[in-house]
């Protein structure tokens, strides 16, 4: 039923503006893949090209063993859930779900069977005779998903489907989507700019930025071994702190990094051969820091209490900003200067081009 998706050398232009540049990507059968990136990076465009709502300028898209990019949207075997849901306003929920099946002359009892089954899964069976305007945002969302499910597509496409829901409902629906994916085992592509959604839902995350794919990896790979400085800064909350590097030498366990006005930081990152300090930077996540007697002198500007832990937003003597972490019982107050130790195994080193180097494993 569901199928793998193979995207080869895809390019998309709007007039003179190149939105996607030579994108290649393989999605496995049954995989849940999230396109993650800042607004305007081309996530929706890529999704809409798979759906057939945007033309392809160069490259190919295959679904299963069939090339689909020359086909019209309806013949591709994909179903899409829109950010705005795009329910037909004058049709009841049942008619909304049945419309696509009627169009391909599915037998009536089959339509009924599928609609009832989908309604049951999504717990909207009591709403089947209502019009969309009589539904809440969350209910509309379910109907939109139901309309996709009944088509039994080879792949599901979601374009920021949770962004119109309030925070509580968003969290719940996220979990339900994960369950739905397990239950159906279908190939799903999910577009979002929200890294929490990406981390919780994805088998693999495709991080996109500036017309290209920055990294493809599991949530943990993307988080712990970001391929580029952009990914490192985009994924994770609070954002990774970046300090400018003025010199790099071989230290006792790896690269020893000099930060102007701060001093040396010993890391466990193997010194890459020919690594140039010019334009390089070192990245530190708040969770990889601890208050200590030695370490970086951090002047705290803002305290952010999260209950179980406390984030210390401050600056170093050179003026660069750093977020450090303390326990939930932290007694630090704004204006204090504290010393912060950094876990040498958890820091990331970025060269001038933004390529990342990590402590363990080769890359």
């Amino acid at each position: 039923m569901s199928a793998a998706i193979d995207i080869r050398h895809l390019t998309k232009r709007f007039g003179a503006l190149t939105v996607l540049d030579d994108i290649s990507l393989q999605i496995e059968d049954g995989e849940f893949v999230v396109f993650l990136g800042p607004s305007g990076c081309g996530k929706s465009t890529l999704l809409r090209m798979i759906a057939g709502l945007e033309g392809v300028d160069e490259g190919e898209i295959a679904l299963g063993d069939r090339r689909i990019d020359p086909l019209p949207p309806g013949e591709r075997g994909v179903a899409m859930v829109f950010q705005s849901y795009a329910l037909y306003p004058h049709m009841t929920v049942r008619q909304n779900m049945a419309f696509g099946l009627e169009n391909v002359r599915t037998p009536k009892d089959e339509i009924e069977r599928r609609t009832d089954a989908a309604a049951k899964i999504l717990e909207i069976d009591h709403l089947l005779d209502r019009k969309p305007q009589m539904l809440s945002g969350g209910q509309r969302q379910r109907v939109a998903i139901g309309r996709a499910i009944v088509k039994e597509p080879k792949a599901f496409l979601f374009d920021e489907p949770l962004s119109n829901l309030d925070a509580a409902l968003r969290g719940r629906t996220r979990l339900e989507l994960a369950q739905l994916h397990q239950r159906l085992g279908a190939t799903m592509i999910f577009v979002t700019h929200d890294q929490v959604e990406a981390m919780t839902l994805a088998d693999r995350i495709v991080v996109m930025h500036d017309r290209r794919i920055e990294q493809i990896g599991t949530p943990m790979e993307v988080y712990q071994r970001p391929a580029t400085k952009f990914v490192a800064g985009f994924v994770g909350s609070p954002a990774m702190s970046m300090l400018p590097v003025s010199g790099v030498t071989q230290g006792p366990s790896g690269a020893r990094v000099t930060v102007d006005g701060v001093g040396d930081i010993d890391t466990a990152v193997p010194l890459p051969p020919g690594f140039a300090a010019k334009g390089a930077s070192i990245g530190i996540r708040a969770e990889d820091t601890t208050p200590s007697d030695t370490g970086l002198p951090l002047t705290v500007d803002v305290i952010e209490r999260l209950g179980d832990r406390t984030l210390l937003h401050g600056h170093l003597p050179d003026g660069s900003e750093l977020v450090a972490q303390d326990t939930g019982r932290s007694t630090v107050t704004a204006g204090d200067t504290v010393r912060v130790a950094v876990d040498p195994h958890a820091v990331h080193l970025f060269d001038a081009d933004g390529r990342a180097h990590h402590a363990t494993g080769a890359d």
């Binding site: 709502l53 949207p73 899409m80 306003p89 004058h90 049709m91 419309f99 309309r147």
Partner: protein, 291 residues
């Protein structure tokens, strides 16, 4: 809580008051004045006393009145669906963001701004026997020319053509505006749902513009019942009154025969017919699925 709410309602009424006064002055007063006149023996110089339903009886017993009613009904029944149909067709055809479409919208709308005098002048050039456009075309084809303005049947047809040409701008613009309100993602959803062009039109487009189509039809019914200028200037109601609409009948009675009472009575009857037709049309079309 209650007091400010009531206060605001009062001030709302105050804001509406000036308009209400003008509205009553311009609409209700003539209506009542017309009813009053229709019950009087009256000419252009004065009133000569209350005559009860006499004027109505005279109108209803006048074969020319019934002829004008038949002409008007036929005219409305044919032109209104054509205006809605062509308006819808043009709306669909010109619903694009290209410069060409914008230009064509302007062209089709431009006839609307012309006065009835100019419109009839233009169409007389087309229909007039001898050196009219159609006449010349018929001669060139070697066909027998038709006296469009002076032949029974063809005269009302010619008035209808001129009217559709003149009035098409408003239906087109209203329907276009409704089409442009339809969210694009509905069409994308329909495309992913494998809907054919026809299914997309009937199940997505039509339900979305249904309210506007009803509005356009109502406006056109009310307007086309009041057909006057084109008929008077193109055919003068002829031949033998076969293109004479009700308003022309009223005009004849009141201002050529100086029988204001009879004209007023016929006017009230026209008012009633328009009211019944517009409400009947609304009732028929607004039943069924609500959007």
């Amino acid at each position: 809580m209650a007091a400010p709410h009531r206060q605001s309602r009062l001030s709302n009424a105050l804001f509406a008051a000036p308009y209400l006064v003008v509205f009553i002055a311009l609409l209700v007063v003539p209506l009542i004045w017309g009813i009053y006149l229709s019950l009087q023996k009256a000419d252009l110089f004065g009133l000569y006393g209350f005559t009860g339903w006499t004027n109505y009886a005279r109108v209803l017993n006048d074969a020319l009145f019934w002829q004008s009613v038949r002409n008007t009904l036929l005219f409305v029944v044919v032109t209104v669906p054509i205006l809605v149909g062509i308006g819808l067709f043009l709306g669909l055809a010109l619903n694009a963001r290209t410069g060409g479409a914008a230009f064509m919208r302007g062209v089709y709308f431009s006839s609307t701004v012309l006065s009835v005098t100019i419109v009839t002048l233009i169409w007389r050039f087309v229909f007039i026997p001898g050196d009219g456009l159609l006449s010349l075309a018929f001669q060139a084809m070697g066909w027998q020319p038709i006296g469009f303005l002076s032949t029974e049947g063809w005269s009302l047809f010619s008035v209808g053509v001129a009217t559709v040409w003149w009035c098409i701008g408003l239906p087109m613009i209203l329907i276009l505006a409704a089409l442009q309100q339809i969210p694009g993602d509905l069409y994308e959803a329909a495309a992913l749902d494998n809907a054919s062009r026809w299914r997309t039109f009937t199940r997505v487009t039509l339900p979305q513009i249904r309210g506007t189509l009803i509005l356009v039809a109502t406006i056109q019914i009310v307007m086309q019942f009041q057909l006057f200028g084109q008929a008077q200037l193109m055919t003068n109601g002829g031949p033998n009154g076969t293109s004479r609409p009700m308003v022309l009948y009223i005009y004849r009675a009141a201002f050529e025969n100086w029988d204001v009472g009879q004209g007023a009575a016929a006017s009230e009857l026209l008012f009633l017919i328009i009211l019944v037709a517009a409400m009947g049309q609304y009732w028929v079309t607004s039943r069924g699925p609500r959007t």
